[in-house]
Every structure is written in C-alpha cells, then in structure tokens.
C-alpha cells in the first residue's frame, strides 16, 4: 500500500532528560518559522484527592494567575505581545500547557513556563472569581446539555470505584467548595520538573532546545522527596446488568450508547490494544463500518451509529458504541440490533478486505498527523504521560499492520461480552 515509510520523520525526533528529571522531546518541523512549546505534567483529574474532584482542572485555570516574578496577568500579556497563542487542558491522566510562537520567542515562553512550574502565587479575590468561571464552564458543558449528563452518568456507572468515573471538571458541589489551599496542596505535590515532560515541535534542532531547556528549566529545583507516584485503585468485577436512563423534557432526539471496560495500551497484554483499535475502526469508525452498514443502511433502524475506543488511558480503558434511532424506533430494538452486530464479531473473523481497509485508514492518520506539529506534539504528550515511550509512537504503524483477523475476534470475544456493558439511554421525559 505504499505506507511503509510512515514515520519518515521519526528518526529526527529526539528525547533526553535534564539533571533535575525533566524529560524533553524535540520534534523538528521546518516548514514554518514557528514552534509549539508544551509542558505536560504526569497528573490529571484521576489524581484528584477524594472529595476534591475538579482540583486538577481548577488548578490548571489558576496557573494563569501569576508568580512573584510575573504577577497577575503578565504571563498572558507577554505571550500576546510575542504574537503567541496559548492555552491549557486537563485530562484524567495529564495536565498540559502550551504556547505557539515564532521560533525566536521560544526562550521567552520557556522562561515563563519554567517560572510557573514552582513559582505560582495565589492571593486575593481571583481564586474565588476563577472558581465561578469553572462553575460557569461546568454549566456550559454539562448542566445545560442532557446528552453530556448522560455521558457523565454512564462513566460514573461503568467505573464504580476508579476515579475515571468522576468527571474531569469535577462534581458541582465539590467544585463549589474547592479552596486556595486545596489548589496549592495539589500544586506542590505534582508540579515539579521530575513529574513533567517538555515537548517542543517546530522549526528547531535538538541542540537549540537542549541549550534553551538547560538555561530555563534546568534551574528549576527538583524537590528532595520522591517523585509522586500514581497509585490508582482497580475496578472490581461487577456482575449486575446496568442501564442508566436520562429523561429530560427538552430531549427531541433520543439516543442509545454503551460502554465496556477494556484494556488501554498501558494495561493491555500482547497486542490486545492494537486489536481493539482495529475492532473499533471496523465496528464503527466510518460510513463503511459494520454498525453503519447494518443499522443505518441495511435495516434502517438508526440514522447514525459508531464506536470509540479510549486507548490512551493510564489505567483501564473504555470501548463504546452509540446509535441514534430512526424516527419511531424504540431504543430497545436498537440495542438488540447492536447486540447482533457485536455477536458476529465474536462468532466469525472479520474479512480480509475490511481489515486491510481499517489498517490503511489508521496508518494514514499517522501520516496526516505529521502535517501538524501541534497534533504530533499532542500524540507524544499523551503517550508519555500514559505509560508509553517515544519509540512506541514510531512502532505503532507496524503493530497495527501485524494484527490479524483472529486477534480481532479474540478481542471481541474477551471484552465485548453480552451483559457486561453499561447501557445509557437518552429519552424525552414524559
């Protein structure tokens, strides 16, 4: 298929560590004189202390509030003065900050980011007003959207013990009680060079980055105590069948979704995670997928249908299916049809052509990813904060290529067992 030399640039990607434990990845891309500068911390919402849900995300907001050296607002003013764009995001397993600037300004954004790695100052009313901002963010994303509320309940039911069942943004009542001290405690625990990864993608060389990183981040002291470990609880086996239904009178378009606990790349044995990636693609990754062909094209029970696989979790991952019913179709009938599609995966191997098509699609995504320095930086950031190594990214296409039909069938048999999913229904309240 000519997709052989996929990671053409992978040989030029370099990684090294500073004496204080900071990991560094450099991804050269010479096409535009710009760089993407990112710092990933190996902690996220799943590391929120019990009763303090949302603290990782709240702290991410507070990281823009200033340090002794660069007080209130100065950080963003400098970045804007440089013509830079910036933002940050929090997931279950990592928190990341980034700036995109002209390459000449790399040193300046490094200085800013290195400064706030340990220099955050939280004083005054901005902590509480920022908490209001987060409460508004939750209202916008979740409290005003029945589908998002169903999603939240589905995850909370699927993970009965593990923190992946708690929303990243936090539960409303706990966000309202988060304090400055909560944020600082969490900050002191996790924000340190040996818990961070610096990723620079763009018009730079390894030597440039090494020198600038030493100058800026090299000065950040590594605390004496041990690098924080992430000790997460394991999920118990749940035998009960679970259906969650969210009824809201505003719902005009019902839908059904379901989620299974499955291994992630970090927790998988052998090539299971790669098999699950292909299973997800063949089952519901496109308009030629089994779900779409069967439910939408053949029997017309659904107007759309698809699947997803959360593969880059540090702990146990998630495999999901969704379907939007055609006019007048009951969700129970839709679920039965989904069961039928899944049963075929367990009963017989996928055919060679659809397996090949899925591989081509997934591997090509990696080529397309090389067109975007930001996208590549994010792939490395997510991989390295969830148990992966730099080499895993380069090796990924080969691993995908090696998966055979039997492995896909084994994954389906083992993980998409009848009765083990949590099913979620979105319906109009009577």
């Amino acid at each position: 298929m000519g997709l052989k030399g996929v990671m053409t640039q992978s040989s030029s990607i370099s990684h090294f560590s500073l004496a204080n434990g900071l990991d560094v990845v450099v991804i050269p891309d010479r096409r535009a004189p710009v760089v993407t500068h990112m710092v990933y911390y190996r902690n996220g919402a799943a590391d929120d202390p019990v009763g303090k849900s949302g603290i990782a995300h709240f702290l991410e907001h507070l990281m823009f509030k200033g340090t002794e050296k660069n007080p209130k607002g100065v950080f963003s003013e400098i970045v804007a003065d440089l013509g830079g764009q910036e933002n940050a995001f929090t997931s279950y397993d990592y928190t990341a900050y980034y700036q995109r600037v002209a390459k000449e300004n790399l040193s300046q954004v490094m200085a800013l980011e290195a400064d706030r790695m340990t220099g955050l100052v939280l004083e005054g009313p901005e902590v509480l007003s920022e908490r209001d901002v987060v409460i508004e963010e939750r209202k916008m994303r979740t409290d005003s959207d029945p589908a998002a509320q169903l999603q939240e309940s589905l995850a909370a039911t699927l993970y009965v013990h593990h923190p992946y069942g708690t929303p990243v943004i936090g539960w409303g009542h706990e966000i309202e009680a988060l304090s400055r001290e909560d944020a600082l405690d969490y900050y002191r625990r996790f924000y340190r060079p040996d818990n961070a990864i610096l990723i620079v993608a763009g018009d730079v060389t390894e030597e440039d980055v090494r020198a600038l990183a030493e100058d800026n981040y090299g000065k950040v002291e590594r605390p004496d105590n041990q690098t924080p470990a992430r000790a997460r609880v394991k999920e118990p086996v749940i035998k009960a069948r679970r259906l969650v239904t969210l009824g809201d009178e505003k719902v005009e378009q019902p839908m059904s979704q379901r989620a299974y606990l499955v291994p992630s790349h970090a927790t998988a044995q052998g090539n299971e995670a790669f098999a699950l990636e292909l299973l997800s693609q063949i089952l519901g990754g496109s308009q030629t997928s089994r779900l779409y062909k069967s439910l939408v094209l053949d029997v017309g029970l659904a107007v759309s249908a698809g699947a997803w696989y959360w593969n880059d979790a540090l702990d146990i991952g998630q495999f999901g299916v969704y379907a939007v019913p055609a006019e007048g179709v009951a969700l129970e009938a839709l679920d039965a049809a989904v069961d039928g599609v899944l049963a075929r995966f367990r009963d017989e191997p996928v055919d060679a052509r659809e397996l090949e098509r899925a591989k081509t699609r997934l591997i090509a995504d990696m080529v397309y990813a090389q067109d975007s320095q930001t996208h590549l930086a994010r792939i490395y950031g997510a991989t390295l904060t969830t148990g992966g190594k730099v080499e895993d990214v380069a090796r990924w296409p080969d691993e995908i290529r090696k998966v055979d039909a039997a492995a896909v069938q084994v994954a389906a048999k083992k993980y998409l067992k009848p009765g083990t999913a949590v099913i979620g229904h979105l319906v109009k309240a009577a």
């Binding site: 804007a80 007003s129 409290d143 005009e252």
Partner: protein
C-alpha cells in the same frame, strides 16, 4: 521599532512560495509545492452556498453538499466510501451561507485516484433516492438535537431576526418538518446551477510538481459548465436593532448573543476594525471583554466579539454564556465596554500590543498544509492578491489610533444592538 522587528518574525515562510498556475482551459489554482510530508491538500469553493437555496427549499445546498459523496458514477454510496477508504482519501463538502466548499486530502502517491473520485462527485453525483432519504433523516436528527442546544437556538434566532425575508435569515440546514420540497429534481437543478467554472476557486499545498497538478486539475474541473447561474442575492442591512428576544429553555445558564451592523471585508476601514475588535473582544486572553467579564467578575467561561463579514451583509457579533441570574450583569458589562471603547477610544499602548499580537501570530495560520491552502483560498475569494501574505502585516502595522477612533464611531456610536438570549435569564 518593535513592529518592524516582529514583522520579520511573523512572515510565514511557506506562503511566500505560493504560485498561481493556470490549466489549458483557463482554470487557476494557487499552489505551494512542499515535499516535507508525502501528502496533498486541496481546498476549493463554489461561490453561492445556502444563500442560493430556492425560497421554498431551505436547506437544499446543505443537502447537496452532504450528498455529493453519497454515491457517484458507477459507485453507490457505500462503494464510494469504500473506494475512498481503501486509499485513506479524505473528501468532504460543506455548505456555508456564501459558498459550497470542498476539501480533499490524500497521500500524494494516491493523488490520481483521489482526483478521479473527486471528479465523479463533481460530474456524476447519483442522488439515489435512498441516500437522499437517509441524509434527510440525519439532518433532521441533528436539528432535533439542536432544539435543546442554547447556542444553536440563539444563533438561528439572531439570523432570523437580523435578516427577515432574506436568505441569510434562513437556517443553512433547513427547517424540521419542511424537507418535502428538497427533491431529487431540485438537487439536480441546484448542482447544475451552482457547480461551474466561473464561480470556482482553488488552492493546494503538498508533494506534487506544478505540471502534474495542472494535469489533474484540468482533468477534474475542465468539463464543468462554463458559467454558474446564480440567483441575485441583494445586500441587506441588519434589522431588529434595539430588540431583545428571549428563547425559553429550562437550563441553568443562558447563552447571550449581541449583533450590530458590521463592516465588509472590502471596506477600507476593515483593518482598523479588526484591530479594534481585537482590543475589545478578539482572540487572546487580554481583551477588554475577557478582562472585565471573566477575569474580574468570573461571570463566564467564554466571552468574545468578532467581525462577521459576508458577501451580502456584515455584522459585528459578541457573545457569552452565563448563569441565568447573572445575565443582566453580563449584558451590562458588555454594553458598557462597547460604550467605553467609543467614548474613550483605545490607548496607544493597547494599539501597540494589538499590533504586536496580530503581526506576530499571523505565521501561526500557516503551519499545516490544510491551513495554508485554506488561507490561500480565502485570500483569492476576497480578491486580496497573491502578495497579500507579504503585505498583510504592514497593513496591520499601519493602523493608527485615529483610524480606530473613526471606525469605532462608525460601528458603535449610533448602533442599537439586537440581543438574543437562550435560557431562563433573570434581570434582563
């Protein structure tokens, strides 16, 4: 001094290599030849768009855009999608108000096949009845979901009130329960009218030599009809100035949109208006609205303002989403910031900072093939010239305080905003 220094920094390298190519039949395309990654990105547009929907067939252009890749030539819908996937070719059409856009992305080794499939969609879309029915059901489902989405509801209402009895007042996706007029015949008619060479713009970036690209473009587009036959769409001024409309939704937070008459892209005052908007509520964490609404008062997660110039109308828009009980306060803060920027003007320091940001960040729009092709397409459509990329930062740097004061007067002095709120606002 500083502006001059950042100017140099901001010059986007790849873009200065854009060349205009012309095929034997006279089709022009702007192309950047680049072999860093073995792929090719093509962006193109047929001017027209949902504004061309017949009065009785709202949503037709959107339906056309979705159906173009739902079967073409000998390939029915799922065969066509399999053909794309076998080579990981990405092909998408999208209907906007003013244009029908297409986007093609392929590994360069598959370029021949990609253009072959693209040509099928352009010349021989099948419009099979089962595909039409299916896509209508999908659009209906999406519209039903939007019934409870405050931002979709607010946007739809704002355009309806701002542009009564004009195509811009109609939703691009059509109206629930009114899809009977969207027939196969209507689709075929629109396809013939809209997709021609006279209203076509093209831009590409990637690993292909000019001569090979010219051959592919000629083969794909040359046989389109010479001239599009577009309905004349009149220019329209914003209506409903000073009105406030509430869409009742039982949710804890309201989405608020505010509109004023805006400024066209071709207007000589567009650049000062863009800089002024940046200071007021444009895209960085330092704007006045961001500072006052979010940073100081914690009223909202997001607050913004933007210039929204279209072919036949121009708006200034601002918006936020805030708890129902804080809608009154949020609106008055936004209105007072607009008032302040007219009465007090922007400061020299703010202008300097805005220039630095806008000049310095320009290069960030050119860091992927698709983004570069998109920028080149935009510049062609707005008729700014292939040298615009090199001129643009100088134009930003030339904006003065006097320019901004003048444009502030124009935009905000007389204007009474149209305000639309979706939610259960209090104190409004």
């Amino acid at each position: 001094m500083i502006a001059a220094r950042t100017l140099e920094q901001g010059s986007p390298r790849a873009s200065s290599r854009a060349v205009e190519l012309t095929t034997p039949s006279g089709i022009r395309i702007w192309h950047v030849e680049d072999y860093t990654v073995p792929l090719l990105s093509l962006e193109f547009a047929f001017m027209g768009g949902a504004a061309q929907d017949p009065v009785e067939a709202c949503g037709l252009t959107n339906l056309l855009a979705i159906l173009l890749d739902e079967g073409a030539g000998p390939l029915a819908s799922s065969d066509f999608h399999e053909a794309l996937e076998e080579r990981a070719i990405e092909l998408q059409f999208d209907a906007g108000r003013d244009r029908l856009e297409g986007s093609l992305r392929t590994l360069s080794e598959n370029a021949d096949r990609a253009f072959e499939l693209l040509a099928l969609t352009l010349h021989q879309p099948r419009f099979d009845q089962d595909a039409i029915d299916r896509v209508k059901a999908q659009v209906s489902a999406a519209l039903k979901r939007e019934e409870s989405d405050p931002s979709a509801r607010a946007r739809e209402t704002l355009y309806r009130k701002a542009f009564p009895s004009h195509p811009y007042g109609n939703p691009v996706e059509g109206r629930l329960g009114q899809f009977d007029t969207l027939t196969r015949e209507a689709l075929k008619g629109l396809h013939k009218r809209l997709m021609a060479r006279s209203n076509l713009f093209l831009a590409s970036v990637g690993a292909i030599a000019p001569q090979a690209l010219i051959t592919l473009i000629e083969r794909t587009f040359a046989d389109l009809p010479e001239k599009a036959s577009l309905i004349e769409v009149p220019r329209i001024e914003m209506a409903a100035a000073g009105e406030r409309e509430v869409i009742d939704l039982d949710i804890p937070q309201s989405t608020l949109l505010l509109a004023l008459p805006g400024i066209y892209r071709a207007d000589p005052d567009y650049m000062p208006a863009m800089v002024l908007n940046h200071i007021l509520g444009g895209g960085s964490f330092t704007s006045r609205l961001w500072t006052e609404v979010r940073e100081k008062r914690g009223l909202a997660y997001s607050v913004w303002s933007t210039l929204a110039p279209r072919q036949h109308a121009a708006l200034f828009l601002a918006g936020t989403a805030t708890s129902n009980e804080r809608v009154g306060e949020s609106l008055s803060v936004i209105l007072s910031e607009i008032e302040k920027i007219v009465s007090g003007g922007a400061s020299a320091e703010e202008l300097e900072k805005a220039r630095r940001y806008l000049v310095g960040s320009y290069a960030l729009r050119f860091d992927t093939s698709r983004k570069i092709a998109g920028q080149l397409l935009e510049i062609q459509i707005e008729n700014l010239g292939i040298d615009y990329i090199d001129r643009r930062n100088n134009e930003v740097a030339a904006v003065t305080l006097a320019d901004m004061n003048r444009v502030g007067e124009r935009l905000f002095r007389q204007g009474k905003p149209l305000v639309v709120v979706a939610g259960r606002p209090e104190n409004l």
